[in-house]
């Protein structure tokens, strides 16, 4: 069991190191990167089956006591989200291998190893049991994301990268301040011990710490009003990189928020978070409607969707958390797929701007089908996975009698559908106009195109599998949500 936990963190790092060492040999390099990420993904699925059968696993790295050492906790919430996240990175790496010989692709010598480092950071962030390791994991993810975003060194990327880096650095520094505050108040950075001791603190200090971390994780998760960096920076990176960022990075912020705020029982912050959640949903959806580029529309959707997860958390009920977890599980693959399809569109049309595209459905029905399924899922149309997730969140809202947030969620859903229709009209229908002065379609060798289509189809199949498996997934989410609502089990497991 502890070997599995270690594998998900160390495996991708080893793969990344091998990939860097073998960077001159493109085939060995790709195999090393795929093996590293793949082994972690397989390990995390094994971990899921183990933990759902035998309960939470705790690994004390080096055998230190919880106050002193690093602790890794594989509870149901962690191992439910982790396999999905790692599987996504794996699929994206396959897509990247297909795309890298085209002009839109990332630099292959760097992208594979950096994705490995990012994977390791994601595993560490989800499995860690103490806040300082969470900080280190965030830095691991962010540093690799900084390099992935800017490594091509083009003007637009550097410019967008600056906003992204400065904003995230500022949030990281606030995180560090927060760690100081937590340590001063409770004498530990271990999440379980913090959860135990935080109730002895005066209310002001306790809620102050909660709000501080709401801002820290909120910046990473791009909630209202801290989202402005996201639509600036995401669309400029190569498709594969944007797809990973879109699927994972903001979700890690939400994940950390769910973890910390439920374990420390910050119910009093619930109303504030509900208002933020509503604003995030609506403003993200309206922002998406105003854009005229596929990647930018999708970037604004990330913001809107984060609102739903925050809503599930803010209700502080078992049903709400179940919804939030289910939404997390559904959203990560769907969002990634949409960005991958955005990459396919850009490859086929030479641009992702709606003005310069049109009539793609006739020329490439496969891309249209690959777009339609996740798009309808994102908008929450049955029978796709988005419907189940949205239903769970909205039902939790109705159960908690919070009518305004339910109305906001429904309005945001309609707006999302509207902006998906906008992409559909702009890219897939209408006349295919000759814009050869603007567009430079990149076809690349047919083998690469097959790899890209295969990876995207695999991911679409994954999202369909999630809607087929909605029943068991819902049960697992419910158990994970119940585990989060009663922190005593988590505390007991870490510090018996």
């Amino acid at each position: 069991m502890s070997a599995l936990v270690a594998l998900t963190i160390v495996g991708p790092l080893v793969g990344a190191a091998l990939g860097l060492a073998l960077r001159r040999n493109s085939q060995l390099r790709d195999i090393a990167a795929l093996l590293g990420i793949g082994s972690a993904a397989v390990g995390s699925f094994a971990l899921l089956s183990q933990v759902s059968a035998n309960g939470t696993t705790v690994v004390r790295v080096g055998g230190w006591a919880p106050e002193l050492g690093i602790i890794l906790v594989a509870d149901l919430f962690a191992v439910l989200v982790l396999p999905i996240a790692l599987a996504i990175i794996f699929v994206v790496e396959i897509f990247a291998i297909g795309q890298r010989r085209t002009a839109w692709g990332a630099n292959p010598e760097l992208a594979g190893p950096l994705l490995g480092i990012l994977t390791s950071g994601v595993s560490l962030a989800m499995l860690t049991g103490d806040l300082f390791t969470l900080f280190v994991a965030f830095e691991l993810i962010l540093v690799s994301s900084y390099v992935l975003l800017t490594h091509q060194g083009q003007a637009a990327q550097i410019q967008a990268g600056m906003t992204y880096v400065v904003m995230n650095l500022f949030a990281s520094t606030l995180f560090l301040f927060g760690l100081g505050f937590i340590y001063a108040a409770t004498g530990t950075v271990n999440i379980a011990l913090v959860a135990e001791r935080i109730h002895d603190l005066p209310d002001g200090v306790r809620l102050g710490l909660g709000s501080w971390f709401l801002i820290v994780f909120g910046t990473k998760a791009a909630i209202f009003p801290l989202f402005s960096w996201l639509p600036d920076s995401y669309p400029t990176a190569p498709t594969t990189i944007t797809a990973v960022f879109a699927g994972l990075l903001t979700k890690i912020g939400i994940y950390a928020m769910i973890r910390l705020h439920t374990l420390t029982s910050m119910e009093e912050l619930g109303p504030v978070m509900l208002v933020i959640a509503g604003a995030t949903m609506i403003i993200g959806a309206i922002g998406a409607l105003a854009q005229s580029d596929v990647k930018r529309i999708l970037s604004f959707h990330i913001i809107s969707q984060v609102g739903y997860m925050l809503m599930g958390l803010a209700l502080f009920s078992e049903a709400g958390l179940t919804g939030a977890i289910l939404f997390l599980v559904h959203h990560m693959p769907v969002k990634t797929v949409l960005f991958l399809v955005g990459g396919l569109i850009a490859n086929a049309e030479g641009s992702s701007r709606l003005r310069y595209t049109g009539g793609l459905a006739k020329r490439s029905p496969l891309i249209a089908a690959l777009f339609a399924i996740p798009a309808l899922s994102l908008a929450g149309i049955p029978p796709f996975s988005g419907f189940v997730a949205k239903l769970a969140v909205i039902r939790a809202g109705i159960e908690a009698n919070s009518t305004p947030i339910v109305v906001a969620a429904l309005i945001a859903g309609v707006l999302t559908l509207l902006s998906m229709a906008k992409i559909w009209l702009g890219v897939f229908w209408g006349p295919s106009v000759d814009r050869s002065d603007h567009n430079h379609p990149v076809s690349g060798p047919p083998g690469n195109r097959r790899t890209m289509y295969a990876a995207t189809s695999l991911a679409v199949a994954g999202t369909l599998a999630i809607s087929v498996m909605a029943g068991p997934l819902f049960d697992l989410s419910e158990r994970a949500g119940a585990g989060l609502r009663s922190p005593s089990a988590y505390i007991e497991a870490v510090n018996p």
Partner: protein, 119 residues
């Protein structure tokens, strides 16, 4: 916890945040270094009262080593990131001859669109 340390943290944070709100990346880098110093000092103060070194001094009551270990990690990370920011500023300087953080071009383009033009 000494008043001098607390005042230093406050001063560093104030100046740091003022610098971060600037448009030029070189100022932002300076500001970032200052507030990360403040954060590290904050971690250090969180460890409680100063004392002799643990283990080597042989005393029973020592300074708390845990926040110092955390601070050390944080210093290394912020050092690396400062270098990365400098490299970014350098690249921006070669590309544009300046190191200003610019407006989002796409945003401005959409805001400037005439009514009904947005497709």
């Amino acid at each position: 916890m000494s008043a001098a340390l607390v005042l230093t943290i406050g001063g560093l944070t104030t100046v740091g945040i003022y610098l971060i709100t600037a448009r030029s990346l070189s100022r932002i880098i300076l500001g970032f270094s200052l507030i990360s110093h403040a954060a590290v000092l904050g971690l250090l103060t969180a460890g409680g009262s100063p004392g002799p070194a643990p283990i080597v001094s042989g005393e029973a009551v020592t300074a708390n080593p845990v926040p110092q270990a955390l601070a050390l990690t944080a210093i290394v990370i912020s050092f690396g990131l400062s270098l990365f920011l400098l490299a970014l500023a350098g690249r921006q300087h070669t590309l544009t001859g300046d190191d200003l953080v610019e407006d989002d071009i796409e945003d401005r383009a959409i805001a400037g669109l005439p009514q009904g033009e947005n497709r």
